[in-house]
Symmetry: C2
Subunit: 156 residues, 2 copies
DNA sequence: TTATATCCGAGTAATTTAATAGGAATTAAA
DNA sequence: TTTAATTCCTATTAAATTACTCGGATATAA
């Protein structure tokens, strides 16, 4: 019942992009360096974000990525779902429209539990906007005076 | 972000035990047969439930398992946490007291997100008591007239 | 004494995750 | 027009986790 690095790294990447933007495209290599994640791996994650319409890419030299929408119109739920797939605790055709067949849904009692969990997770993440995290991130950085030196490998 | 078979099978096993009890110990082989889960694997799951004080075991012939407490005093949260470990979306020492060190917790912005998710999951599962599922299960079985024949392999 | 159970730990197969790697396509700037 | 910087895409691999299986020890009612 854990998020994978896709969700964790990917959210950090979007937050980095949103926090460090100066209205120009940011190269993935910059994000990768700041977040200490390999460029190759980040490419795969940002591809999901692009396909979900969360970031836009600008190809070629001086290219990079920009947010596709204002940060207050992007929910953390949008970001995490695009990276992790649905946030339901089980693959169940009644909760999400997955491909899993469930021939006994009328007899299934536990789906009552899975639905409650699923709804509560989605409500929680849809209630947080990227802009809130950006604000928090800038506040913290201002207080701490972050530089290259006092940053350390992040695990979660 | 999915529960493993530990949580899914284990919850079904407890629910089976609670639903089909007649105040005598139920052998694991019976639960295993009804739920179509291997006895060997179920053993590992019920061991967790026993250590968590959710079921009691009676050893020897005619032995088996019984609920350690009335079903209305056992929450689904208790059951799932004993099977899956903590239900937090990340291993973070600030959310749960795991062994993971986090040297930059004061700089971590995403923990705000993980905490909200974690709390919402735990609130959801702690708000459902086993007795509710038992009631629902009995109702459904009465309606459908469940027999060996119309049961089918459950996936979630 | 025997059959029926739980209990326990080791081993293994299958799946998923977390990357790495290499090259094609695109574009700004020299 | 060439070059360097960059995204884009797919295949492969290494590591970790999950989902079991297996064998035997221990306990106990009949």
């Amino acid at each position: 019942m854990k998020l994978s690095t896709k969700g964790r790294y990917g959210l950090r990447a979007v937050l980095d992009l949103a926090t460090n933007t100066d209205n120009e495209a940011i190269a993935l290599s910059q994000i990768a360096e700041r977040q200490e994640i390999s460029v190759n791996y980040l490419e795969q994650l940002i591809a999901k974000l692009r396909k979900a319409g969360i970031v836009n890419s600008i190809r070629g030299a001086q290219g990079g990525y920009v947010l596709a929408k204002p940060a207050d119109e992007i929910s953390i739920g949008d970001i995490l779902r695009s990276l992790e797939g649905d946030l339901s605790p089980v693959d169940c055709s009644e909760l999400n429209d997955s491909d899993t067949e469930c021939s006994h849904s009328d007899l299934c009692v536990t789906k009552y539990v899975w639905k409650r969990i699923s709804d509560s997770i989605n409500d929680a993440v849809d209630g947080i906007m990227l802009s809130e995290l950006v604000e928090e991130s800038r506040k913290i950085q201002a207080e701490a005076g972050i530089t290259q030196d006092n940053r350390s490998k992040q695990t979660c």
